[in-house]
């Protein structure tokens, strides 16, 4: 078996050098990624980093300016119809009809997949049961909670039993319980053999679900690794030190051997904890040099921390921001 053939069989999604510009803004600047069949890849990045654009290209909704991609063995530019038959997409905006009931939505989409009336009804019922929506099946979607709407959206994406699923920020804006419920659904899909590419702004989500994480920023891949390796790089927990005197900051950086990088907050120093003893060592070092620490806080790493770490290494990339839209 030649290499190319076996590659096509083992990778459900593969993209090479994707470039897309809107006007003069280069949204994607050469994205490479592969998703092995049956695995989940998390595309992690802040707003405006190109996550949605990547998904739209891979789902044939947008044409790349350069580069190529194949999904399910079909070329997204030349075999769009075949790609669309293979995939399901849950876009960032809800893609269900608010004025119809949950059941009516699923029956409509099943009908438009040409399942036949009886089969369409069966399929809608199966999905309502599977996604825990049977109780709300007869209610208009407008009355659904955010979590229910996302589940219905996901159910709608599963009408055709796709082998490959794209989820664009599936849990953004959900409360913790709805998020956990949706994670359980995603794990189920993964266990049943579905290949999934999901985008997220949350490191924790990537850590919970993904086999592999691709971090993008400014339209470029800045990291492509397993969640464990990424977290090792960032540090499991973040130690935030608030110094008593702001002017000690450069000295503290030197003592601790930190690269001079943008830091959150005035007088604050953030570093990843490598091991349980790291906190004591750090405080000892500062104490030894006569740098008083006013307050110490510990928190779990956020996407910002990933970027502080990754961009501190490459230094040139501007500081990303989370929050807002896009």
């Amino acid at each position: 078996m030649n290499g190319l053939h076996s590659k096509a069989l083992t990778d459900s999604i593969s993209a090479r050098g994707l470039v897309k510009a809107f006007g003069t803004t280069r949204v994607l600047d050469g994205i490479d990624l592969t998703v092995p069949t049956g695995s989940l890849l998390a595309l992690l990045g802040p707003n405006g980093s190109g996550k949605t654009t990547t998904v739209r290209i891979l789902t044939t909704l947008l044409r790349p300016d350069a580069g190529s991609a194949s999904v399910g063995g079909f070329d997204v530019s030349r075999q769009g119809a075949a790609v669309r038959r293979t995939i399901g997409l849950t876009a960032q905006q809800a893609t269900v009809d608010d004025l119809l009931t949950g059941r009516e939505n699923l029956e409509l989409f099943a009908g438009l997949y040409h399942l036949g009336r009886r089969r369409a009804r069966q399929r809608a019922q199966e999905l309502l049961d599977r996604f825990d929506l049977a109780g709300a099946a007869g209610r208009r979607v407008a009355t659904y909670s955010g979590g229910m709407r996302r589940r219905l959206d996901l159910a709608a994406s599963m009408v055709s039993e796709p082998r490959i699923l794209f989820l664009d920020e599936p849990t953004t804006g959900l409360d913790p319980r709805s998020r956990a419920e949706l994670w359980a659904v995603i794990r189920d899909l993964l266990a049943s053999g579905t290949t999934i590419l999901l985008t997220t702004q949350y490191l924790e989500e990537a850590d919970q679900l993904a086999d592999r994480v691709v971090v993008i920023n400014g339209g470029r891949v800045v990291a492509d690794d397993s969640p464990a390796a990424l977290k090792r790089q960032v540090g499991a927990e973040r130690l935030v030190l608030h110094l008593a005197r702001g002017e000690d900051l450069p000295r503290a950086e030197a003592v601790l051997g930190l690269p001079p990088a943008p830091r959150p907050g005035p007088g604050g120093l953030t570093l990843g904890l490598q091991d349980p003893d790291h906190l004591r060592r750090t405080l000892d070092l500062l104490h030894h040099d006569g740098i008083p620490v006013e307050r110490v806080e510990l928190r779990t790493p956020t996407l910002d921390d990933v970027f502080f770490t990754l961009t501190a290494a490459t230094a040139a990339t501007p500081l990303p921001r989370s929050g807002g839209t896009g």
Binding site: A94, L99, E104, H114
Partner: protein, 258 residues
């Protein structure tokens, strides 16, 4: 053959979806049922007494019914612009695009649903007119032609509305089209005789599409002489449909690719 059948099925489902939506929006229900009746009552009772019908010699109710029929169907048809703009700006269009359906089925579904709804609205207006004393003098063939004219009018307006809805890219701006459509009958020979209007307005009234369409309906419903109005109306409606349908299909394809 089978692809034509499949596309027909898709269209049927999309029309069903659009009609179902319409029954669940209070606005939609009012526009399609109460509004035609209200307009009819308004013109016959409120304005009717004060308006002369000029040289036509018709009772005002007979004079105004054709224009009210067009208003009844036209307003709802114009709102098709809002319906398609909502699909395009919301997430629905992404869902439709990932489905294995023909691209034209989505705009066509909106146009067809609009024709069904708004010709029904014309029916409500006509019933109200008959209750209020409108006594048409039309043969079965005449009625069939009345239906053709009303379907043509609603179809033409709905196609232009879809075109407009695709052009403006926002539901609010799409709503502006209904104003144009609502006012066009006032500036025709349909509500007051155009011969009573000042010069420039009169010329506009004589040369805009609503006047020959009203004249055609009058001729069919009231056994009035038709003259060339039938041909002029057919040219307006046919021309509009022939131009706007392919343009809308082209615009929809452009909006949904790239």
């Amino acid at each position: 053959m089978s692809t034509a059948l499949t596309a027909g099925g898709d269209l049927y489902r999309l029309v069903g979806r659009n009609l179902r939506r319409e029954t669940r929006i209070l606005d939609g229900l009012i526009v399609n049922t109460a509004l035609p009746v209200i307009i009819m009552v308004l013109f016959v009772y409120v304005f009717g007494g004060a308006i002369t019908t000029g040289s036509s010699g018709l009772a005002y109710i007979d004079f105004v019914v054709p224009a009210v029929l067009l208003m009844s169907g036209g307003y709802g048809a114009a709102l098709t612009a809002v319906n398609i703009a909502e699909d395009m700006t919301g997430g629905m269009i992404d869902r439709f695009r990932t489905l294995p359906i023909a691209a034209w089925a989505v705009p066509a579904g909106h146009v067809l649903a609009s024709v069904i709804r708004n010709v029904m609205a014309c029916g409500f207006a006509l019933l109200a007119a008959i209750v209020l004393g409108f006594r048409p003098d039309a043969s079965l063939t005449d009625w069939a032609w009345v239906l053709v004219v009303l379907v043509g009018y609603v179809l033409a307006l709905s196609s232009v509305a879809v075109l407009w809805g695709l052009l403006v890219r926002s539901a609010q701006a799409a709503g502006a089209f209904s104003f144009v459509v609502l006012f066009l009958p006032y500036l025709s020979d349909g509500v007051v005789p155009a011969e009573t209007m000042p010069g420039a307005l009169r010329e506009f009234a004589y040369h805009q599409p609503v006047t020959p369409i009203v004249a055609t309906l009058r001729s069919l419903l009231l056994d009035q002489p038709l003259g060339t109005s039938g041909w002029v109306a057919a040219a307006w409606l046919g021309g509009t449909v022939v131009l706007s349908v392919p343009l809308a299909a082209h615009l929809f394809r452009r909006r949904t690719s790239s």
